[in-house]
């Protein structure tokens, strides 16, 4: 039997029907058409499906859809506010921190979670925090630079 789930997605009250064993990722992509959240493995090993669930960074492939009843979700589609992109998004563009771009939404969500709790992370802290996000194109170099630069920017420093 399908379950009727009420949740908030990117600040908007949202409801959907789902089979109990469907993942949040499947609901976001296939039911809510929020395809910015990507699927790379569905086993929690690549981070492409990263979203915020009640302010916690999680892999949406490892959340069952009925679990989000009454909770709030933030996806990549909610990171830019109106016509203003987030500093991280701007820094990813400026640093050429994406090549194919499939991992980018997950990295931006994860990096945003990092900077919200640690405004001045070291390179090592950043690398370990982002270790659950796989990128196969960049060697991570430009991603790490982009995140550290965004952090500096958010602290009001120029690097």
């Amino acid at each position: 039997m399908k379950i009727h789930v009420h949740t908030r997605v990117n600040g908007e009250a949202t409801e959907f029907l789902c089979a109990p064993d469907r993942s949040l990722l499947e609901i976001l992509r296939d039911e809510l058409q929020l395809t910015g959240t990507k699927e790379g493995c569905s086993t929690g090993d690549c981070g492409a499906c990263s979203v915020m669930l009640d302010g916690r960074l999680v892999c949406s492939c490892l959340v069952l859809a009925p679990e989000v009843e009454g909770r709030s979700i933030e996806t990549i589609e909610g990171v830019a506010k109106g016509d203003q992109i987030h500093v991280l998004q701007r820094k990813f563009l400026e640093h050429a921190a994406l090549q194919c771009g499939i991992c980018t939404p997950g990295f931006i969500i994860a990096a945003k979670a990092l900077l919200e709790r640690n405004p001045d992370p070291s390179e090592e802290e950043t690398r370990y925090w982002l270790a659950g996000n796989l990128c196969r194109c960049t060697g991570y170099d430009k991603i790490i630079h982009a995140v550290l630069d965004a952090a500096a920017d958010l602290r009001g420093e120029t690097r």
Binding site: A19, R29, D30, Q33, L34, T35, G36, T37, K38, E39, G40, C41, S42, T43, D45, C46, A48, T75, I76, E77, V79, A80, I85, Q89, F92, L93, E94, H95, A96, L98, Q99, C100, G101, I102, C103, T104, P105, I108, E123, E124, T126, R127, Y128, L130, A131, G132, N133, L134, C135, R136, C137, T138, G139, Y140, D141, K142, I143, I144, H145
Partner: protein
């Protein structure tokens, strides 16, 4: 002032306005906001979900398939097996990558008489939900006669080995196996007198390595959506390196004419060569035709590992000799490459690249292409070259140590340059190998001190780079902005590079140029994104198309001014009159000319279609520092510098990105990545957890040095840069580990247990 377009000047003399700058890529905003649509992001009304039933045996004869129970399941709309496909004759596949054969390709897409690897597609289902399709697959009954699988090169070559293809015979150069064997081909190449070369040597070093099958590891699984109308015409959305390749290959596998299939390339989430052939595309087309509804297939990560195209496991022996003063006298290599279930490993390219960086008069190279019960290999970034370079570069390192020479000096002594005859035959044109060696030697990294249990490795690499066919249109909008249309899926920022080249020719800001990747019916034939060819070859087409439209713009201005075409020049986005009477006619801007297009003959569209010749080879020299934990065998990469000749870097950020990405893949290949098979041929680590690709905390920053020795055959001097970066890292890491741990290695990956064993053995 000249009466000719700037482009006719030699690239090295030219003053660049946009080339070499780092604009934000045009597709970037969509990709950082989640709007960009990749393969799995498309959906259509009435869409069905496809699933593939895959062989649970690595080697089995298929005696029969009963799909009735699957068809009886509510929600199942179509089921197909090998019997639904036409027989496809053996024929070399053009326009793709590597040595593909259409007959083999068809059998790889779906098994016929035999399943040849664990994961080989046997049947496919389309149903209203993915779950029903999965359940239907479970209800298909396949009658297998399980055969003994062949899982290693040694097993494949053994006398009395089980034979994968009973009717196939080895091709190439004698001596060849008589009768059926798992040898697809054996070739030899070389020149000079090997025996004399080695007898002239003061030092001879021989090394042997085994490397495992590894995967490209793109983060986006293969995905396809196909819709077929009652007229039999199909539209296919898929993430591929080549839309025209998908069209041609699918048409061939399905026995259709090319015009029956239109392929719309989606954004692509990485490929590295792995998306240069077809897997689910023909299945989706046929299912959508049978079901009369759109069908979508998305591979799971496990399917990507088991049933796409990794690259070869290898067994390589290399012997090289040198005089006391460091001159190479002879070199010999024997290369065995796994092709997977069907012939066509990249051993040919390996034979040609193995000694390519060095001047050698006496060479002998032997290459074996061997089939076994593993997935059919596909291209992976400089296919065949990294493993060959691993062995040669470790031999070079050992020669340097034995001769008491600096490892870069030894390479400089023997490095190829313009005019030298490559070991694979032809003479090199202008190349930048020596320049990369010098830049590496003078880099601060090379002089930095090393601590206890630390070591520094040097290694070099070579890749040919490709040209091939490309089409491009450059059209001018009514307000003077421009659109560049090409047929190459953008895998790493190529749109920005192509737009930069058009901007340079047109003389307008790159932000005013929109680069577009077109489908197979909106642009002329274009070979796939691969072989490091897009910025080089498609770039050449874009430059030509832009020059075509510039010629038209000059003609329009000449018409307006009532002067001859030769009297009009194009500079900084404006037509200028080269007359004796300056000030008579104010220059006409691109916007002004565009606004008067209707008045002067109609829309302004430049076109070019070419088969690009003159791809310039790429050379790289890499430095790698590691630290070894002698108690656990763990290796930490401390510092890495990649130096490579780009000819001319169009968008330096994306050139650096190619260097860094290739290095990261190479480090993974060197240290941890491998296909692990159980005794029945099932891959044991078919997921990102145990197929250990580098994560962010595994790597240091990767320094890059872009050397620019212009390619004389490209109007801007461009060389491809995508593939060369993965050639040196295997050896750079291995050499660093060998020096840090004082061991000799003979196998990849240099995983902690393997290294600890080597350390314990050496003590």
């Amino acid at each position: 002032m000249s009466d000719k377009p700037k482009g006719d000047q030699p690239a090295s003399d030219r003053k660049w306005k946009y080339i070499g700058t780092r604009p934000i890529r045009h597709d970037g905003l969509d990709k950082v906001t989640g709007r960009a649509q990749f393969g799995a992001d498309y959906a259509l009304p009435g869409m069905l979900w496809g699933k593939v039933l895959r062989s649970p045996h690595a080697h089995a004869r298929i005696r029969g398939i009963d799909v009735s129970a699957a068809l009886a399941l509510d929600g199942v709309k179509a089921v197909i097996t090998g019997r639904d496909f036409p027989d496809v004759a053996s024929e070399a596949a053009e326009g793709g990558e590597g040595a593909n054969d259409f007959g083999d390709l068809a059998m790889n897409v779906i098994a016929r008489e035999k399943a040849l690897y664990h994961g080989h597609a046997v049947a496919a289902v389309a149903a209203t939900t993915a779950k029903i399709a999965e359940e239907a697959c479970k209800r298909i009954v396949v009658d297998y006669e399980v055969l003994k699988p062949v899982l290693s090169l040694d097993a494949a070559l053994a006398a009395n080995a089980p034979i994968l293809h009973e009717s196939a015979r080895a091709t190439g150069h004698e001596p060849l196996p008589k009768g059926p064997s798992n040898v697809a081909s054996r070739r030899e190449m070389g020149r000079g007198d090997i025996a004399k070369g080695f007898s002239d040597a003061d030092v001879v070093v021989e090394r042997e390595f085994r490397t495992p099958m590894v995967h490209q590891g793109y983060i986006e699984p293969h995905a396809v959506l196909a819709r077929t109308g009652q007229d039999g015409r199909s539209v296919v959305w898929c993430c591929t390196q080549g839309a025209f390749m998908v069209r041609a290959y699918s048409a061939k596998v399905l026995g259709l004419s090319t015009d029956m299939i239109k392929v719309i390339p989606t954004e692509i989430g990485g490929g590295f060569g792995g998306k240069t052939t077809v897997y689910g595309e023909p299945l989706a087309i046929l299912l959508s035709r049978k079901a009369g509804r759109p069908v979508k297939f998305v591979m799971s990560r496990e399917e990507v590992f088991r049933a796409s195209g990794p690259t070869s496991g290898t067994h390589i022996r290399v012997k090289m000799g040198a005089t006391r003063d460091g001159k190479l006298t002879a070199a010999e290599a024997v290369l065995y490459y796994e092709a997977g279930a069907f012939k066509g490993s990249p051993v040919g390219a390996a034979m040609m690249t193995v000694f390519a960086p060095y001047k050698l008069a006496n060479v002998r190279i032997e290459g074996w292409d061997v089939v076994l019960n593993k997935p059919k290999v596909a291209a992976y970034r400089a296919p065949g070259a990294p493993m060959a370079a691993l062995v040669v570069e470790t031999v070079m390192d050992e020669l340097a140590e034995k001769l008491g020479l600096d490892p870069i000096d030894l390479r400089l002594e023997n490095a190829v340059h313009e005019g030298v005859q490559a070991t694979y035959g032809p003479k090199f044109r202008a190349i930048g190998f020596v320049e990369t060696l010098r830049a590496a030697k003078s880099h601060p990294h090379y002089k930095a001190p090393l601590g206890v249990n630390q070591g520094r490795g040097v290694a070099c690499g070579f890749w040919f780079n490709a040209g091939m066919s490309s089409s491009a249109n450059v059209s001018i909008n009514e307000d003077g902005s421009a659109v560049v249309v090409t047929g190459n899926p953008d895998i790493g920022g190529s749109r920005a590079s192509l737009a930069l080249m058009a901007a340079e020719e047109l003389g307008i800001p790159v932000e005013n140029v929109r680069p577009v990747v077109a489908d197979t019916e909106a642009i002329g034939y274009t070979d796939l994104t691969g072989g490091s060819r897009v910025t080089f070859a498609t770039g050449m087409a874009v430059i030509e198309a832009a020059r075509d439209v510039v010629r038209q713009l000059r003609a329009r201005a000449a018409q307006i001014w009532s002067v001859e075409l030769d009297a009009v020049a194009w500079e900084d986005g404006r037509a200028l009159l080269l007359s004796e009477a300056p000030g008579v006619h104010e220059p006409l801007s691109l916007a002004q000319l565009a606004g008067r297009a209707a008045q002067t003959g109609g829309p302004l569209v430049g076109r070019a279609a070419l088969n690009a010749r003159g791809a310039g080879p790429g050379f790289a020299t890499h430095l790698c520092d590691v630290e070894v934990d002698r108690e656990t065998g763990a290796v930490t990469v401390l510092r890495y510098t990649a130096v490579q000749d780009a000819g001319k870097a169009i968008h330096p950020s994306y050139v650096e990105g190619q260097y860094q990405g290739g290095v990261a893949q190479g480090i993974g290949w060197a240290l941890n990545e491998e296909y692990i098979f159980d005794e029945n041929g099932a891959m044991e680590n078919a997921g990102f957890l145990d197929y250990r690709m580098p994560v962010a905390s595994d790597l240091p920053m990767i320094d890059t040095v872009i050397v620019e020795v212009p390619n004389p055959m490209h109007p801007y001097g461009v060389r491809g840069v995508g593939e060369t970066p993965i050639v040196p890292p295997l050896a750079a890491v291995a050499n660093a580990v060998q020096r840090a741990a004082r061991v000799k290695l003979s196998e990849l990956p240099i995983s902690p247990p393997r290294l600890l064993e080597a350390i314990d053995r050496a003590v």
